[in-house]
Amino acid sequence: MAVIRCQACGKPNPDFLEECQFCDARLKPLTGMLTPSPNALPPLAPMTPPAPEPAPAANTNIIKCQACGKPNPAFLDTCQFCDARLKPLTAQFTDDAPAATTEWLISTRAKPAETPANTLPDWLQAMEASPAEPPMAMPEPEPAAEIPEWMRGESEPITPADTPDWMSASAPATAAEDETPDWLKAMQAPTAEPAPVADWMPPAEITPSAPASAADDEMPDWLRAMQSPQPAGEAPTAVPDWMRTGAEPTPAASETPAWMSAAPEPAAAQEDVPDWLRAMQAPASEAPAAPDWMSAPSEPSVPAQPAAEEDVPDWLRTMPASEPEPAEDSSTAWPVSPRTAEPETPTSQGADMPDWLRAMEPSAAQPLAMPDLPASTPEAEMPDWMRSASAPGEPAAEATPASDLPDWMSTLGGSTTAAESQPDWMQSSGASGTPVESTPAAVADDGMPDWLKAMQSSASTPEVPELGQTPGGDLPDWMTAMENAPTQAALPPVSADMALPDDAPEWLKAMQGTGELGALESTAAESQIPATEAGGDWLSALRGSAAELEPLPIGEAPTFSSHEGAPPSDRPVSGGLEEAALPSWLAAMKPIDVQAAPLDEEADVYEERVGVLAGMRGVLRAEPVVALPRKSTVQVHKLEVTADQTRQANVLAALVSADIQARTAPKRRPAILPMVERWLVVLALLVAIALPLYGAPGLFPLPTTISPQTQAAFNTVNSLPADKPALVVFDYDPAQSGELNPSASALVRHLLLRGITVVGLSTRPAGAALGDVLMNSVALSLSVSESFSYTYGVNYISLGYLPGGPVGVAQFASNPQDAFVNDFRGVHADVWNTSALSGLSAQSGFTLNNFGGLIVLAATPDSARTWIEQAHPQALAAPMIAVVSAGVEPLLLPYAEGDDPVLKGLISGLPGAAQYEAQAGAGFSHDSTAQSWTTLGGGLILGALPLLILGNIIASIVSLMRRRQQRRG
């Protein structure tokens, strides 16, 4: 993507942007918008039709920036907001460029009413004061034989009737106009009404009129050149009419333009004659063949004043001394025309004049109608449109209707038909009512101005004097070379393979091998341009091509090639000859972008794809450089590995690879000893359990002593009220039934024997069934052994499963009737209305306190603690007894010990059951308890304890032997 650096801030911008993304300054100039600015060139004016009314003064003081669009004062060159250039660079060349002429014209038109007469330049005041007596003595015209035809044609006396209207305006003003300066009023005297001002002429308010003292300084060079003495004899007749305004009427006073002839009181105005005009008078008196327009102001009676020469620039003084150049250079008319004049160097001024100006001395016929072309502008620096206008060719006015012509061109050539077609500025300066046809010699029949026609004729006329006749000692080198150059016939033939000199341009050298040089051969053959010594072949070729240039048809706007800024090699070849390089002053007129050095397009075509800069080109690559992983560019140093290290690395690699490989697990023979040992243990336990039961009955007698907790439990049960049911909680599973059933059976038996209704429940699903089975079995056993009949629902009842854990226990403790509706067996739909519980339900709001006692059989400490914590506060009046496994005993002893323990009794495991049965008497003894006691003793004392001791002793010995073997091995 190409990058354009901003002219204002210097920062890079993508090429597709129109304005700088940093300072909003315009990056690309509006090349297509050639709108005339206040300083715009007059040649561009024909592109825009003249507007009838001038632009308002308020807008002219403000210039709108092309880049930012903000208003700026007119005196600024660059925008005060974005530093963009407001005016083209042509403003810098006001001394040389035609734009200065425009400014001058602007100044002349600006604020005429405000300009006092005494502020006018001297020369203008002189024109105003003494139109009748020309202060300048113009040289006499030379014989017609020595004058070119186009000059001779113009040397005819000019009658006032032939004077164009705008020149007629130079006549003395009959009455002072309100809005025009005096000098302009004088020029507009015959004018009935002021003509509208053309649009291309900027409003007068922009540039105030300069004071009279500075008139010379602000005077454009080309006009100063015109003020210099001209060789009267060489004055061409093709001088435009408006140029005659500064000339004294010729002896044929009738031919003097009206505005010239209107200059009153020449004698009185002699002192007001500007110095430069006086300087022009001196050589004019000596010039025998001064043209008419020059001879008019050159009055012989007015001598040249030496003192005035000091005010005249040196270069201007030297103009009369220049020698006329032969008009061999037919490519352009205006530079050639001075060459055609006879050199008549004044003795008083020729020494100070530069050589090149001396060569221009006879250029009295310099077309002032083209004020934007300075007289000193060389031929090569002439713009294209000027070349085309001055090139010989067919009269363009015939081919182009006057209506198609631009105004300024129409006024030059075709404006003779109607005053309306004249530009406004010309109408204002001339007599608007004067018919154009009355101009005899100044306007050709075809509508082309005489001076233009003369230029064309001089360019195409082969009879122009040769340059060799001109004493060109003081001429510039390039002009001298042109004068002394031989004609085309004497030039060496131009061929494609010709050897170019060393000083030839590079572009010409580049053409040598491309065949383009051959094209120059044809053009050079037809050209009459002499080849100069200094210019070399390329200049002659250029002149040849210029000679072939067709004149610009009048009425057609000059076309500006878009390739002006391109190097010569890149420009299109016109007629086989390449265009010449633009002169510096013309190149400076080009827009900024064209003039600016083209930046090389950056080769970076990277386009950002992420982030806020996505889609933009030419940005720094943030993601590829920072975010995306990439290979490190750090150079890794090569390790220096020795042979030993390599060998060791190989060994390590072999070890690692061997370890990775799967190894087949070695088949282990099943360890027989552990299996035998295991079976021996099982066998020993079986023997130990069975031996006391079958081989040694009475080996483990029932305990003869009773623990205090067991005794307290027995006493508590024994003290329970018989009229209140006792709540027995079976919170254990069948796995713990072997240890707890003896205690549970002894307690239930004791309760039933005492005639206490037993109400069973469980917080475990299996405990309810287990309790129901146990109570049923005890009742059956008692009915058998004691011949008591215990009925379900009357003597005992099972409530079933109490869900909810601690919450259920708490709810049941506070309100038992809400916890159960029916019994576990489902026999009684209303369990609280059964015979077993009717006594409780009769009491309003009964709780656990209404039970006679609470017996909790728990295999785990949590179940026992739940009942202790949740039910005891609601059953403070009901004593609580716990029957637990031997392993839970240490955790419940704290609740059973103390002065007022929560547990009024604690029965622990099988020993507690045995103690309880022993305490209860022979009637409570249960065979299962004695058998369990015996088997328990046999298994623990005869089985587990010996195995524990012997096994660990043997294991310790074996372990020590292995350690010794390991130490020995």
Binding site: V681, L699, F700, Q736, G808, I953
Partner: protein
Amino acid sequence: MKLTKLVATLIAVGTGWIVLLGYFLPEVELFKSANQSLLGIASQLAAVVVLVGAINLFLVHTKKLTGNTPGWFYSLFVLFGLVAVILLNVVAPFVAPFLPADVVLGVGPASNANLFIFKYIQSAAGAAIAGLIFFFLVLAGYRVLGRRMTLATFAFVVSGAITLLALAPWPTFLPNPEVYDNTTLRDLLRTLTLIPSIAGARGLLLGIALGVVATGLRVLLAQDRPYRE
């Protein structure tokens, strides 16, 4: 805090304070009735939880059976017992007229069929598992020093032996001499066994009590929200 969590916290804290006030202020009928109502709801929910647990057990073992995961064969037995008990309790009332007169299946959880299953299957299986525990404990004690002979293992073996001697039925062939002032050897061994165990148990109970109080306060003060998850 989201609204749902706020509502849950308010419910938990409010319920806790109401139940707590019902405990401390039972004479206030409002707190007492509220306490009873909340406890009743919790108890019924616990019953539903049992049903949900049974359904979950059925689904888990069904998944194991259909997925041929390891142990699917045992899941088959579990499912068979579950389905059999349910069918037995559901079908029993309908098949009772067709059974002999001496065969009474009964109705409800305490029916003869359920008691038969409980007595001859569930209780027997539970006792057998407890017996296996005894066997594995003896075998482990037998191999303790063979696996690792350290001071801890040695102390474990010694304490085990003493406990067996102290709690097990004392055989007749073992002398039980009087050691000190009507204190026999067995009493001494029992004391040596119970003192450390009871001391440890009391400490454990104190710790549990403190933990319960702290946890209760945290829940009541909404500092701990186990219902949040």
